[in-house]
């Protein structure tokens, strides 16, 4: 048995896949590619595969991670080429490596996510003012956000430690801006980019128009070294 860790891209044609849709898609792709995927034991055997992160509907990404356990040895080039032959347009495996089965899971080794966001802003918003506003936001010692915990209760969480950087740039479309955000994983916890934008709106005067037309793209997903 052998564990393969692979990196893949998801682009616009398939950005509306839910996490479960994507799981199903990969399961079927493994079959079409005749991959010797290992199955779990028990009443309801399922293929032993997972993604480092669940992708939300609408997200595109240049760097997602997945893992799969194969019952036979397979070389990396074959894996990548056979999978890319069967994967639909919108998903593409960019790299893969073989690791020991005992190697820790990827979700435990997440380090940072770098996001590029295209979002509408209040008409008349000046880029320089916006940049200053974000600068003061980042200078705050604490940024509290309400979050629902597993028991359904609302708790307050300080999200400042999760934010490494936020920068804004002009967008070709009028009344839109590009936001580049680097967010950190601390003990497998993170904060969502939409929530950071909401929080900026709350702290300063609302400037981002957060609606379903927001485009969030994960440019990079960084893993801790030696993972």
């Amino acid at each position: 048995m052998v564990k393969i860790q692979y990196q893949f891209k998801r682009s616009t044609p398939l950005r509306f896949l839910s996490h479960l849709d994507q799981q199903r898609l990969f399961q079927r792709a493994f079959r079409r590619a005749n991959m010797p995927v290992e199955y779990s034991q028990g009443f309801n055997p399922h293929p032993r595969m997972s993604f480092a992160l669940a992708m939300s509907v609408g997200l595109t990404s240049d760097g997602e991670y997945g893992e799969v356990i194969m019952s036979e040895d397979i070389d990396v080039e074959t894996f990548i080429s056979r999978m890319n032959e069967v994967l639909p347009n919108g998903l593409e495996i960019v790299s893969a490596k073989i690791c020991d089965e005992g190697v820790g899971s990827l979700s435990a080794a997440l380090s940072k996510s770098v996001y590029q966001i295209r979002i509408k802003v209040m008409p008349g918003t000046e880029l320089t003012e916006l940049a200053e506003s974000i600068h003061s936001y980042l200078a705050l010692p604490q940024i509290m956000m309400q979050k629902r915990n597993k028991k359904g209760k609302y708790v307050e969480k300080d999200i400042r430690p999760f934010i490494e950087s936020i920068a804004v740039f002009a967008d070709p479309e009028k009344d839109k801006v590009n936001v580049e955000m680097t967010l950190i994983y601390i003990e497998q916890q993170c904060v969502k980019p939409e929530h950071v934008l909401e929080s900026i709106n709350n702290q300063n005067s609302a400037v981002f128009l957060i609606d379903p037309t927001i485009e969030i793209h994960r440019e990079k997903l960084l893993i801790k070294a030696d993972a």
Binding site: L17, R24, R31, V57, N89
Partner: protein, 615 residues
């Protein structure tokens, strides 16, 4: 339009990916002016329509032709419909996202009477003129087929061309005729006349129907032009084994009602259950061979990656080589971890040992359909299943560890009495008793017996096509009586009558006069009538009143044997004489045997010269 929808509308709706048409094995072609553009329209949601086998066959068949591009369109969910209307955007075919009214053909499959309002809604959203006689020259030809096309009349105001019977060959003839017609440069009427000459094609605009002023029954059904035949002969594929079946099918990204490969192993059914329209209209029985089935399923698994295959037919246990087939398929499937499922199993047709062979992994609930509670009623409807068959089956199932059993029944069958209703509860109780006879160690820890009783709707081309449906009051009474007769807590039973069965009965045996009702109901916003949360009886009642039509005339009335029925112009091969004889036998509770055992001369062998049933 595509980009606009993708960026601004899809992020706002549920299951946005079902509006894009970019699934694995979806067909994308580069359009050209000579190409025939065909939109296969399933009049319900994506999740429901993607499980429909007929669409998969015709989609593949049409796309094999270089100059035809067949795409799919489904009824948009209410949130998507709202967005389309808000932005004034037309309903479109999924693959190319072309507006529906730009297609050459929009083809609907008529699976269920309660989907008719969705048809009108989709035409309107597609910006296609509803009434066929008012359609402009450049508009698509609206074509329809499927089981409900055996009584096409309620939809005749809106459909240009009906296909009666199995469409695989006829549809290609229609396409060929279209190519010829384009060369002639003729108009719409010219094409319709050319199409009417194809056997199996019914063009309603070329016929007139007259009614008796007093009684309201049909007095005449008359062809208006010589190209229109007085009788339409249903079409069927003779050599099913050689018939086209695609090697690839579209794989949905989202969950659909049936997330698996559905492969047809035979068509038709010789059991002759008297309530069952499918058993009558799909005659004769034709099987595929074991090698064909095996190789096709292999190809489909390789092309899709699905891990479940379902063997589809009207009575899978009756397939002549079922044991061999199952053994072979389980063998093939084992290594790839593919599971085989067999829905539609008659209680008396398959041993539990066989069932176990396939469902090695999970013991899902066992579903059986006795259909009636007493032997007398089962004989009336010619469902030859005995109580002994049922008890043997559940006994073995319980011994093997099954704990969940669902039993399907119908209420409102001809000659039914309250004693027959009590029989349903009795059977449920007997099933519970069988469970308790098994010793505690072998049986499942818990037991659940679910009884389901639907309201019987008489259908055209069955022996019961002349009977009035039970009234809503009679149904309520019987359901209440059934509920009161159930004593054991292990038996669960629920029912609710929203009026859907009544409406289904109206449209199943309706005539052309219902077109106006349908139009009004659509104008009032009726759609998704098959979905409990959207069915609105009040709106329908208003529509009938405004159209001046009494629905009871269609649903509740007993017809005389010599009355002209709206569907009489169709010849299915099974004769009226046979149906009448069956209706009479039903009154006396006399059964008719399974046709391979003893031919009852239903007429199908005379229909097609040289055709021999069962070999």
């Amino acid at each position: 339009m595509n980009n606009y929808i993708e960026k601004n509308i899809l992020p706002l709706v549920t299951k946005p990916i079902t509006y894009l048409g970019n699934e694995v094995n979806a067909v994308h072609k580069i359009p050209s002016p000579e190409m025939i553009r065909f939109a296969f329209a399933f009049p319900d949601t994506y999740e429901v329509g993607m499980s429909h086998l007929g669409m998969k066959i015709l989609y593949g068949l049409l796309n094999e032709e270089k100059d035809i591009w067949c795409e799919r369109v489904f009824a948009p969910w209410v949130d998507m419909e709202e967005q389309l209307r808000l932005h004034d955007l037309p309903l479109y075919g999924l693959e190319s996202m072309m507006p529906l009214n730009d297609y050459d053909f929009v083809g609907f499959t008529l699976q269920y009477e309660m989907s008719f309002s969705n048809i009108l809604n989709m035409l309107e959203l597609g910006k296609i003129t509803l009434r066929s006689t008012q359609r402009k020259e450049a508009e698509p030809f609206v074509i329809a087929g499927g089981p409900c096309a055996y009584n096409p009349e309620p939809l005749s105001d809106f459909i240009d061309i009906f296909v009666i019977g199995e469409a695989e060959e006829v549809i290609l003839k229609i396409m060929a005729t279209h190519r010829e017609w384009k060369k002639t440069g003729g108009n719409r009427q010219d094409f319709l006349k050319m199409a009417a000459a194809i056997e199996g094609v019914y063009v309603p605009a070329f016929y007139a129907v007259s009614y008796d002023e007093k009684s309201g029954v049909i007095t005449a059904f008359t062809p208006l032009i010589e190209e229109a035949p007085a009788t339409i002969r249903k079409q069927f594929i003779e050599d099913l084994d050689q018939a086209y079946f695609p090697d690839k099918i579209v794989v949905s990204y989202t969950e659909t009602v049936h997330d698996r490969i559905s492969y047809e192993i035979f068509r038709g059914c010789g059991r002759g259950c008297r309530f069952c329209q499918a058993g009558m209209i799909y005659r004769p029985t034709r099987e595929k061979t074991v090698p064909t089935i095996q190789s096709k399923i292999k190809a489909l698994i390789a092309a899709t990656g699905y891990d479940e295959v379902s063997l589809s037919s009207l009575s899978t246990g009756d397939y002549s080589e079922i044991e061999t087939l199952i053994k072979n398929l389980v063998c093939d499937a084992e290594s790839g971890k593919v599971s085989i499922s067999l829905p539609s199993l008659r209680i008396d047709s398959l041993s539990i040992e066989m069932l176990e062979e396939i469902q090695k992994v999970r013991k899902a609930g066992l579903t059986l359909a006795p259909e009636a509670g007493t032997q007398r009623m089962r004989d009336v409807i010619n469902k030859g299943v005995t109580e002994e068959n049922l008890m043997d089956t559940v006994k073995t199932a319980f011994e093997k560890g099954w704990g969940h059993v669902k039993l399907y029944f119908m209420i409102g069958l001809p000659g039914e009495t309250l004693a027959d209703i009590e029989g349903i509860a009795d059977l449920g109780q007997k099933v519970v008793d069988e469970y308790y006879k098994i010793d505690r160690e072998s049986r499942n820890k818990s037991l659940k017996v679910v009884l389901s009783a639907s309201s019987f709707v008489p259908k055209p081309f069955t022996p019961f096509q002349w009977m009035g449906q039970n009234t809503p009051e009679e149904f309520k009474n019987k359901q209440r009586h059934l509920k009161a007769s159930i004593k054991d807590r292990k038996i669960s039973y629920s029912w609710h009558d929203s009026g859907v069965s009544f409406l289904e009965a109206v449209f199943a045996r309706g005539d052309r006069r219902l077109g106006l009702v349908l139009e009004k109901a659509h104008q009032k916003g009726c759609r998704f009538d098959g979905w409990g949360e959207y069915f609105d009886l009040q709106k329908w009642t208003e529509a009938f009143a405004e159209a001046g039509i009494k629905p009871e005339f269609y649903a509740l009335r007993n017809r005389d044997y010599d009355e002209i029925l709206p569907w009489d112009f169709i010849d299915t091969g099974v004769t009226k004489k046979f149906l009448k004889a069956e209706a009479e036998k039903a009154v006396a509770a006399v059964t008719t045997p399974f046709c391979p055992e003893n031919c009852s001369n239903c007429g199908i062998m005379e229909f097609k010269k040289g055709w021999k049933c069962n070999g």
